[in-house]
């Protein structure tokens, strides 16, 4: 065999090797990627599941908030005598029970009081009215319904009347 042939063969081998190395790198990268994809997917799934569990009851809790609103309306709307107030007590105990139950499920009231600056982050303005008592505009002058967080996420803003 001549040197020339030998060289050529060597060259082909080298090219072949290069190709194989490239292919190997491709395969390894693909393998690593798919492995990583899987691990990431698993992590995401775990997180998603945790979130799903945390907020699975959101709709039902929102419905119960509606019931709590009505409780509050009854409580605030009745103009009762002392005797009447005594009679109402058991119902307020039921309301407290409901509140506590929801609290253990991660429900938390938005802290708010009359005179607070109106903040659309957590408040929803229902009405704006002229109120001579309010010294400043854009203040909460009445809380119509409480706002709530569920596990830290605002699921209902507090509904408020705002001063003009």
């Amino acid at each position: 065999m001549s040197d020339k042939d030998e060289n050529k063969k060597e060259e082909t081998k080298e090219i072949e090797l290069e190709k194989l190395v490239e292919e190997r790198n491709d395969y390894l990268a693909g393998w690593q990627r798919s492995r990583a994809d899987f691990l990431n997917y698993k992590k995401e799934e775990t997180e998603r599941l945790a979130r799903t569990i945390q907020f699975a009851n959101e709709d039902m809790i929102k419905d119960l908030i509606f019931v709590m609103d009505s409780f509050s309306l009854v409580e605030n709307g009745l103009n009762l005598s002392t005797e009447g107030k005594d009679q109402l007590k058991p119902f307020l105990m039921v309301k407290a029970q409901l509140e506590n139950t929801l609290k253990t499920r991660g429900l938390e009231k938005v802290k708010i009081s009359v005179g607070d600056e109106f903040s659309p982050e957590v408040h929803e303005a229902i009405e704006m009215i002229d109120d001579s008592r309010a010294s400043d505009s854009h203040k909460v002058i009445e809380v119509i319904a409480d706002g709530y967080y569920l596990n830290g996420k605002l699921i209902r803003p507090a509904k408020v009347r705002v001063s003009k």
Partner: protein
């Protein structure tokens, strides 16, 4: 790099991406899947977008911009603008070149700048959600948008910092979400009943293109109109019964709006609901409450005109497009209002076929935009193209049952190992019969091969542990190995081409399995019951052999009788009979223990409590 699919709606917007080959709707920062298309500048000069802008709308009506999509790309002299100016609470001015500008705070903005603010929020929230930068987007627009409106929509995306890959018609997006682009030919009608607009589009599937053949609808008909109808109905009823007009009371109205929406949603699943508002208002006589029943029939009567109108518009659109309703192959429902059963019914009645509504109608357009993004992106170059097994693989086990080792549709390569045992005493070999198919009984499936593992040390049945492993590599080559765990003796078989069955064969085998499902289940149940019976007979016979002398003769006779009657029952095909006999024998078997203990008690061999030993 991901492309964001955006449904930029008149009232609400939504966004989705392709994730792992599948479209996924992204939540915004507030954790909601849709974002109100509302922008505002607060008194303090702060810009608000989405739900926070909406929440402050009543205290800041002149600086809260909603429905800006109605204005985008239009001339100030456009009759639509003329009409909408009366409905919108913010101020509009004519720009230098005859376009529309809206006033917000102390500045005027082009509609596309307002839309850009919404898009910017979506971009930011999407980036936060997936944790990477997003630079490209596909934005949808109504099919009736002209060039100037589309250009303005594109401009909005660019102002927001996106490279807008495409402005995609909403109905096309909806069709893409349902994968109709994969079918060649055919006509699709998209019925889009949103919050504030009603759009109809007729699409025709061409080769790789979806062509809009006809459009129609009403830009001022939507779910909000239906809500208003319900609210007015409640107000009228209340006035009739209580003599009080709630329409003057803002607070009552707010609560009515809430209950009207709730009632509408509830009546999508229930036939009757109760509208219940304590302390809705008060008069000289004290507080007043609202309590009334509201039924689906009432609701449908109330909004029937709107539904009829929508169907008339569908009819009109088809006529204009010169397409007969019989030519429509698929109907797609878009928009939250299409959840209403009466609307689904009306559409179904008109076309005589079921409309598609499997994908959330609020999200279907955004999902379709993401699907388009996926098509543009192309699949990531993937050296690994993974196959799945078209049919299940398994082995034959006691009673001729097919025990599945690798279920159908499992992505390969994959492996699975399970431990089996022997069926009779002193069995020194097991046969591993490998098969493929979906039928419950081994005989009905395709046999791929079999082998024998011998040299298992003699032992009572159930004691030897034979580990059977199935391994399918990426090329579909199936290796089955059986190993006796006591001796580590192995035997295996290699089956090539196990996954490349012809399509027809796969379909036929699946169909057969479906067809025979009921009888197969019965067969399998019979076989399993027989196995249980056999097992019990074995146990009883073993007990008699082991404890024979200690069992009372009459009990022994009874056992013998029961065993032989179970044996004959076992040969019948009567599952119930075998079950009853098995239960009876099982109860009798427990007698052995009882019997033996009482015998030992009689002979005074009662176990004594251990006493402290004294030395």
């Amino acid at each position: 790099m991901k492309i964001l699919g955006i449904d930029l709606g008149t009232t609400n917007s939504a966004m989705a991406i392709i994730d792992g080959g599948q479209p996924r709707v992204l939540e915004n920062k507030e954790g909601a899947r849709t974002t109100p298309s509302v922008v505002a500048v607060s008194k303090t000069g702060e810009r608000l977008t989405g739900i926070t802008a909406k929440r402050q709308a009543v205290v800041n009506p002149h600086n809260t911009i909603f429905s800006v999509k109605r204005l985008i790309g239009r001339r100030f002299s456009d009759p639509v603008i003329e009409h909408d100016r009366k409905l919108l609470s913010y101020e509009m001015v004519q720009s230098g070149n005859g376009g529309v500008e809206v006033k917000m705070g102390d500045k005027t903005h082009k509609p596309e700048e307002i839309s850009a603010m919404i898009l910017m929020k979506l971009k930011q929230d999407a980036e936060d959600s997936i944790g990477e930068k997003i630079e490209e987007a596909i934005i949808t627009c109504p099919a009736y948008f002209d060039d100037s409106q589309r250009a303005a929509t594109k401009a909005a995306g660019e102002i927001a910092g996106f490279k807008v890959k495409r402005v995609l018609p909403e109905p096309t997006a909806a069709a893409l979400a349902y994968g109709f682009n994969k079918r060649k030919g055919g006509k699709i009608l998209v019925y889009d009943f949103g919050g504030g607009t009603f759009d109809i589009s007729v699409l025709e599937m061409g080769d790789d293109v979806i062509e809009v053949k006809g459009i129609g609808g009403d830009t001022h008909l939507g779910g909000d109109d239906l809500d208003q109808k319900i609210i007015h109905f409640i107000i009228d009823e209340y006035k009739k019964n209580e003599g009080i007009d709630l329409s003057k009371d803002n607070l009552a109205l707010q609560r009515l709006k809430e209950v009207a929406e709730r009632a509408k949603h509830e009546l999508s699943t229930m036939f009757e609901t109760e509208i219940n508002l304590p302390f809705v208002t008060s008069d000289a006589n004290g507080p007043k409450h609202l309590l009334m029943k509201f039924s689906r029939v009432q609701l449908e009567k109330l909004v029937g005109d709107y539904i009829e109108r929508s169907i008339e518009l569908v009819d009109e659109t088809l006529k204009n497009a010169k397409i007969k309703k019989e030519e429509i192959d698929e109907i797609v429902m878009v928009g939250g209002q299409t959840r209403m059963p009466a609307i689904q019914e009306a559409v179904k009645k008109y076309f005589g076929k079921e409309p598609h509504r499997d994908i959330n109608p609020d999200e279907v357009v955004a999902i379709g935009a993401a699907v388009e993004a996926g098509i543009l992106q192309g699949e990531v170059r993937d050296v690994l193209l993974l196959d799945a097994t078209p049919l299940s693989f398994g082995i034959e086990t006691l009673g001729g049952v097919m025990t599945v080792m690798i279920a159908k549709n499992t992505t390969i390569p994959t492996a699975r190992t399970e431990v089996f045992s022997t069926a009779s005493d002193n069995q020194t070999s097991v046969e591993v019969h490998v098969m493929q198919g979906e039928r419950s009984m081994a005989q009905d499936n395709k046999s791929l091969g079999r082998f024998i593992l011998d040299g298992i040390p003699p032992a009572p049945r159930g004691i030897p542990q034979v580990e059977v492993s199935f391994d399918i590599d990426a090329n579909g080559i199936l290796s089955v190995t059986a190993m006796d765990k006591a001796t580590n003796k192995k035997q295996s078989i290699r089956i090539e081409g196990s996954t490349n069955l012809s399509k027809e064969d796969i379909e036929r085998m699946k169909k057969e399995a479906e067809l025979h499902q009921a009888e197969d289940q019965k067969q399998k149940a019979l076989s399993e019951t027989k196995n249980l019976a056999e097992n019990l007979i074995y146990q009883v016979e073993k007990s008699i052999k082991d404890w024979g002398e200690k069992i009372a003769p009459d009990l022994k006779t009874k056992l013998d009788q029961k065993v032989s009657s179970l044996k004959s029952a076992k040969d019948s095909q009567d599952v119930e009979k075998i079950k009853t006999e098995t239960q009876e024998l099982s109860a009798l078997l427990q007698e052995i223990g009882k019997n033996m203990y009482s015998q030992s008690a009689q002979s005074g061999e009662e176990p004594k409590p251990e006493e402290p030993k004294q030395s």
